[in-house]
């Protein structure tokens, strides 16, 4: 009985090596672009700036896996292109760590989104939502 169970586990691990991972660049891009847009919207409200609809930022994302096959969990990088409130085109890039369940943690690469904390219009310290954030996407 134990032998049979071990054989099943070995088969399962063997099978897991075949087939493509559902963590693809298309899924990551479709998840991070709207999430980033929503976060910019929420951040502006928090800081006390006039709100802009998330869709007005027209965020576009290009994501790629850093090592190995083009799909799979692990380290990714995403380049975001979006339209700022003053209609200028802005670029940000994020380093992502994506887990097999389709959840990711994104951290800003470079300095252009500011540090982990910001000060709002009324002098209050608030968390910089764009410095690091998390999200999940459907892997089915």
């Amino acid at each position: 009985m134990i032998n049979r169970a071990l054989r099943l586990v070995a088969l399962a691990i063997g099978l897991s090596g075949c087939g493509q991972s559902p963590i693809t660049s298309m899924r990551a891009e479709r998840a991070i672009a709207p999430t980033f847009a929503n976060l910019v919207h929420t951040q502006m409200v928090w800081i006390g700036l006039p709100p802009v609809a998330a869709s007005d930022f027209a965020v576009q994302a290009r994501c790629r896996r850093l090592q190995g096959a083009p799909s799979g969990s692990g380290e990714w990088t995403c380049a975001l292109t979006w339209r700022g409130p003053d209609r200028r085109t802005l670029r940000n890039s994020y380093e992502l760590f994506v887990t097999t369940d389709g959840c990711y943690a994104a951290t800003a690469a470079g300095e252009n989104v500011g540090g982990p904390m910001l000060t709002s219009e009324n002098g209050r310290d608030i968390r910089n939502l764009l410095y690091a954030f998390e999200g999940c996407f459907d892997t089915t």
């Binding site: 493509q20 976060l39 919207h41 929420t42």
Partner: protein, 272 residues
């Protein structure tokens, strides 16, 4: 099998559990753990940033509940839900009391059903206490602030509360699958160490296996994946596929484990 027989068994098992310090330790840990965590978060400056919602624990009490749910689902619930279920049957072997139990006016089916119902009640109780305690700890110690969900949208306290309760409810099915597995092991191996320990080991192995890249079907077939199915509730538009799959898989596991356990117990030669 009769309702009277089953309720008598449930009553006796409840009485036995009520006299054991283990039961109170489990429930006390579920009750006090979240308050200790929330207080620690409030007092210190570092955040559990490697967990979903970890960055928001100082802003919203609901994030505290979700961080605890994420942690407990991975490490605590396989233990908490097997600690009682894995001992209910093998305890009779340890004390040599099967003959005594089965000479009462209860059939084997009554005893089986009564013990399983007791295990299910205790598992549900641990989840309910953990859920209520973690939400209360978050709201009382940190505050009911709005929550930024996993798609960057701000949820009001009411919206967050509903989703947090649903998230906790979503782990009932996989938790009961672990309880049923513990019951099966407890019946087959007649040993509480295996009944309680093996589900925990299996849970850990499943989690390690889930970290491997591979076809989605393989990951989805692991019971532990259902513990994370609530993530879809915090994304807009929400996705429910993992929740439905997790529920179906867990239900199938419960039915299979309990069927095998009952067949094993019904065929066992206890007279010797």
């Amino acid at each position: 099998m009769s309702a009277r027989g089953i309720s008598a068994v449930v009553g006796v098992e409840a009485l036995k559990l009520g006299a054991q310090i283990k039961t109170y330790l489990v429930l006390a840990a579920c009750l006090a753990g979240p308050f200790a965590f929330a207080t620690a978060i409030r007092l210190q400056s570092s955040l559990p940033t490697d967990t979903l919602f970890g960055r928001a624990v100082k802003e919203s009490g609901f994030a505290v509940s979700l961080v605890l749910l994420g942690f407990a689902a991975l490490w605590a619930f396989p233990v908490l839900t097997s600690i009682i279920g894995g001992d209910l049957f093998s305890g009779e072997d340890r004390y040599g009391t099967w003959k005594l139990v089965l000479t009462r006016s209860c059939s084997r089916a009554d005893v089986f059903a009564g013990k399983v119902i007791t295990a299910v009640i205790v598992s549900m109780l641990t989840i309910c206490v953990s859920a209520a305690s973690s939400i209360a700890a978050g709201v009382l110690v940190i505050g009911p602030g709005p929550l930024i969900d996993l798609s960057g949208i701000r949820l009001t306290s009411d919206q967050a509360l509903i989703r947090v309760v649903l998230a906790w409810a979503s782990i009932v099915a996989p938790a009961l699958a672990f309880t049923a597995f513990a019951v099966l092991l407890s019946v087959i191996f007649r040993n509480s160490v295996i009944g309680v320990g093996l589900p925990v080991v299996v849970g850990l192995v499943m989690q390690l296996a889930a970290m491997l890249d591979g076809p989605e079907l393989f990951r989805r077939l692991l019971i532990t994946s259902a513990f994370g199915a609530w993530h879809g509730l915090f994304v807009q538009p929400s996705y429910y596929g993992p929740l439905f799959d997790g529920f179906a898989l867990s239900s199938a596991c419960v039915v299979l484990c309990l069927t095998l356990a009952f067949r094993s117990l019904a065929r066992r030669d206890i007279a010797g």
